[in-house]
């Protein structure tokens, strides 16, 4: 019954010229999203240490979905080599991500340009 999560990958250049891997999500982010999200993250090449998560196409996120993003932050922290940033969250989910504390480990930006300027 749960809606699917679609993840597409592309690359972008940060304002300082660094290569950035962008993972763009669409659909719902819930407990069934784990394989799609972490699978895409694990599939990123090691050529760039910068990862940008695009939530523009996401309508629904629940606490199980937020836990998957935390799992990604945990893995990024363990390897110690990746910087993760986020953009495209609705004002409500920016608030929720901040309440949970995700902004301490992944900067939340209003749009892609602002995110790329910071990476």
């Amino acid at each position: 019954m749960q809606a699917q999560t679609k993840v597409t990958q592309r690359t972008a250049a940060s304002a300082s010229g660094n290569r950035v891997n962008v993972l763009a999500f669409s659909g719902d982010i819930s407990s069934t999203s784990k394989e799609a999200i972490l699978g895409a993250y694990h599939g990123l090449d090691g050529g760039s240490s910068r990862v940008l998560l695009d939530f523009t196409g996401v309508d629904y996120i629940n606490s199980s979905g937020i836990a998957i993003i935390i799992q990604m932050l945990l893995e990024a922290s363990k390897t110690g080599a990746r910087t993760i940033a986020i953009f495209g969250l609705s004002p409500h989910f920016r608030k929720v991500f901040t309440m949970v504390g995700i902004n301490k480990y992944a900067a939340l930006h209003v749009n892609e340009a602002a995110a790329l300027a910071s990476l």
Partner: protein, 145 residues
Amino acid sequence: MKSGSSVHVHLPSELGYEKVAMSTAASMAALMGFSKDRIEDLKTAVAEACINAIEHGNNLNSSLTVGVVLSSSDDQLEVKVIDDGAGINAKPVAPDIDRKVQGEEDPRGMGMFLIQALVDEAEWHQGPPGKSFVRLVIKLDKESQ
């Protein structure tokens, strides 16, 4: 909308159906004149309460349903989410993001915290099967309408 109205929804104990309760709560709150921000808060709180009821209260048992009762009054919307479990005997705890990112705490387990943080009142009641429920309330702020 007439004050004192109530809507009853019965959800299958299958993840995903929380969105039906979420949409119903959002529609009712919109009819009552709640702001978009408050409706978004309510949607997340109702979804999390239903997920807890489906997963933990009814253990994803397809023969059980989750009851959702939405009741309006002049100044508030109350939502009760009822399941067949024994109820929750725990207090909402704020997530410790440092411990979660270090792998010292389960990344999950934020539902109760979000519910309490997003609505004006949240109470968990324990009872016999079909009588355990969480009660959520959001209040109309007349000055912001």
